[in-house]
Symmetry: C2
Subunit: 80 residues, 2 copies
């Protein structure tokens, strides 16, 4: 089962990379952008076949390795 | 309007970063993982209020800047 996770910086944490992308887009003529925030995306393919168990496992991975909970949030996306 | 984009490596492109994360998870005791693939995530806040127009704009950004279409795919996520 494939579980996807999106990890984003918390709202109040500065995102210099997103800012640079915003400036670049601006310079390319995309002038109606208010803000760009960059995050990370993981697709984890587990042997677990039970949806809830797989999600619980991935949540544990987020807490222990993938996300820095001091400055980041994670969101687990339901598999379709 | 906030539009989200996920950029992933194409299926046949090697993902060394994902592989290292996989090995690390394995070493931490998460042994039922088959594969980990890492991607990028962008949240673009545009002044555009029309859903379709905003998505078209973001698609153009993906093609011109955010994604390298030789090795990456992009997926625009519908705003809720």
């Amino acid at each position: 089962m494939k579980i996807s996770v999106i990890i984003t910086l918390k709202k109040d944490v500065l995102d210099p990379q997103g800012k640079v992308i915003h400036q670049t887009l601006d310079g390319m003529g995309f002038e109606d952008v208010n803000e760009v925030r960059q995050g990370k995306y993981f697709e984890i393919d587990t042997k677990e076949t039970d949806n809830d168990k797989a999600k619980a496992k991935v949540e544990e991975m987020c807490k222990k390795l993938l996300a820095n909970l001091v400055i980041e949030n994670y969101k687990i996306i339901d598999p379709k």
